[in-house]
Subunit: 493 residues, 2 copies
Amino acid sequence: MAKELKNLTKRADNYSQWYNELVVKADLAEQSAVRGCMVIKPYGYAIWEKMQHELDSMFKQSGVQNAYFPLLIPKSFLSKEADHVEGFAKECAVVTHYRLMNDPNGKGVVVDPSARLEEELIIRPTSETIIWNTYRNWINSYRDLPLLVNQWANVFRWEMRTRLFLRTAEFLWQEGHTAHATKDEAQDKAIEMLNVYGDFAEKFMALPVVKGVKTANERFAGALETYTIEAMMQDGKALQSGTSHFLGQNFAKAFDVKFINKENQLEHVWATSWGVSTRLMGALIMTHSDDNGLVLPPKLAPIQVVIVPIYKNDEQLEQVNAVVDPIVAKLRGMGISVKYDNADNKRPGFKFADYELKGVPVRLVLGARDIEAGTVEVMRRDTLEKHVAQLEGIEEYVKNLLDEIQANIFTKALNHRESMTHKVDTWEEFKEQIEKGGFILAHWDGTTETEEKIKEETKATIRCIPMDAEEEEGKCIYTGKPSKRRVIFARNY
Amino acid sequence: MAKELKNLTKRADNYSQWYNELVVKADLAEQSAVRGCMVIKPYGYAIWEKMQHELDSMFKQSGVQNAYFPLLIPKSFLSKEADHVEGFAKECAVVTHYRLMNDPNGKGVVVDPSARLEEELIIRPTSETIIWNTYRNWINSYRDLPLLVNQWANVFRWEMRTRLFLRTAEFLWQEGHTAHATKDEAQDKAIEMLNVYGDFAEKFMALPVVKGVKTANERFAGALETYTIEAMMQDGKALQSGTSHFLGQNFAKAFDVKFINKENQLEHVWATSWGVSTRLMGALIMTHSDDNGLVLPPKLAPIQVVIVPIYKNDEQLEQVNAVVDPIVAKLRGMGISVKYDNADNKRPGFKFADYELKGVPVRLVLGARDIEAGTVEVMRRDTLEKHVAQLEGIEEYVKNLLDEIQANIFTKALNHRESMTHKVDTWEEFKEQIEKGGFILAHWDGTTETEEKIKEETKATIRCIPMDAEEEEGKCIYTGKPSKRRVIFARNY
């Protein structure tokens, strides 16, 4: 297996293959027997759980409560919002029967033709329809609003080309669905939740993101406005990492959800929805990792510190154990997750490679000679630098180092993004630059037609109109028509 | 709405209706638009989250890691274990197509007949098959064992008669799936996890349970042995609350999962699986609640303490606020979840009824006069007793009261169970006693034939052979054949 660890393809040779291999070799996820569906392995799931935990607290702090809605949606519900069904109908898993039977001709177990559903059920690709159908009974008056609900769930979209975490038929996510008495309040909520996503990405994932608005063409099916956080991967491609939608009154109208306002008048309710998914795992992996394997931000690493003993005999091991045990206890007391790996059926070199592959942020190595000298070897995963530190006070040292690593990988990713973000003013330059990857800040005339032509010719899409885009007179790089601000173009995952 | 609260059917009048109404009125769950599928509302979900949190820590303490496996299972997988498919085929939701389309005849959105799957997919009713198909690639040697994995997931069984939480087509659960090198280790693990369930039920849910073994007839489809925890509801009916299965090598053989043992020989792997579900919510509600609404064990109550102010004007309210704020802060500091409800659009009487209905364990009521006297009115939900306590030290008082309530409702449920458990030695007495409800401890000849005849004649099933059943010579109440220990008969949910 040690040999296998080293066989990781290098990013420079084939970035895409490097990613696919890394996900599997680091025990994060694998393909299942069901087309397009993944198995999330324990190590990968432990990272996802940490993400869930942090996001869930942030949601709760903003007043959101969790609930659970059905997996299956009546086919007719999907059709009630015209754009929505257009967006999702082509990738729906459809339940048509509710029973199997033994084939009378002995061909094994077959679908029982007499157990056909009157109305087919769809596995939820997203839950706006079933949730707004439910909200109709929950909302009567302005006193019932705002309604701030989230669910953690699995969803299903029959994707033709899938990649672990980045695009799978089934994926795990959270979807928030809020209901409001006014348009402004709903719009503010959509932006508030986008900011929650932005904060989570930057503070926990160490993932710098651009917040912006999607063009009409890239909007969620049924939304009036889609807000997005966009990240840049190491190969310069963009990855949409979370979206928050202002849905206007579209779903309230489709499902007839009205409330009595303070003026005693009946009005349709205003809505938002917002979600992030296991796709974030893909962003996390691709942003920080290197040719030796994963690099995990300390705040999301299941194991933050690993300690490996070096010893020649049981006596030496006991000596090391005696020094390490109180360090482990103290680190745990500080809320740091530590693994002391003194298993004797693997050699230190194997352990080193394995924990590097798994992205453990800090490694301590300790032998009899270190103990005599009162020192310990510290390796930080982000830079792979080794350093000899004093044993005394090592816990504080490690704590500070974890913070430093968290900050460093964010800065590294930010610098990378900045170095690969270019203002471009001519079509020639655009076509040249897009081949090099990265974000292009360019003027656009605001039409879907131009957007689509640019995509056709260059595979670049408009990732977003940044929230903080300065007003600037300019000309569309493609049509030369007037434009008031630059938008971000990139190729994307 | 205050009026509506009082309309709760009394247990003595119609226990079943009382339960159905309570689940809805206390905002725990409701029927959805999809047959047999429920919506778990925020208050109900908050209780479920607390259960998940405690169970999840207990699993992790026993070395189990979480992972995630696909929602859909190829039809052919189900058939690989003969008993398993027999047990689940009749209640499977079947996915046959992966696309919708606009009907060419303008009938709206229809299933695209050209998008038919070659092999149908089943929504998991349980995941042994897909998981053991995955384990084949994870397990090569005894060094890969034991493998201790759990998943939190939704599952689907097309039940004909459903009731909120107790029996729904879709439900939430956890399913643990472990793999072992020896038969003994697997058997021990199955019992260890049963004990985890028993501890959780008794310590957190305040739910006394009998641990036992299921008869062959009541075993999980594919298991060699099924262990169970059985609880008694207030109407004397049994509720199976969690099961743990020793699967032998059945699934390893069906999916060809072998490992090289320490003697360098290839052997099939030994397995367990174990699960509890949102059905536990039903057990929780039915065990403790009364004609005024929910009674929640403090350890699982989303709100443990509610404080309601009494005031005539803003000045008085400010006075009360000034006293309550530090109490709230101190209680929160002690890890107690408090709600201070000083909303002025509801009257105290309405609040009292609402929090009673919602089962909040402790209520404090505080007005200007109390502040003068340095006292506060304390109401405990389990007995509805009111008591005037000193404001000074109220936080410790509340903490102790919460512990007392937790202990009291457990004792109450245990006494109820004991008062409704009877040793019965004749068939006449059996038939008489079963009409009165409760557990019957009786001798049984050990045959499925007798078990089924008893069920036919009395609707009583064997809930389990208790783990701690004493050896005792006796005669089967039905056939008079010899028996070595008593088993528990009851009617059940």
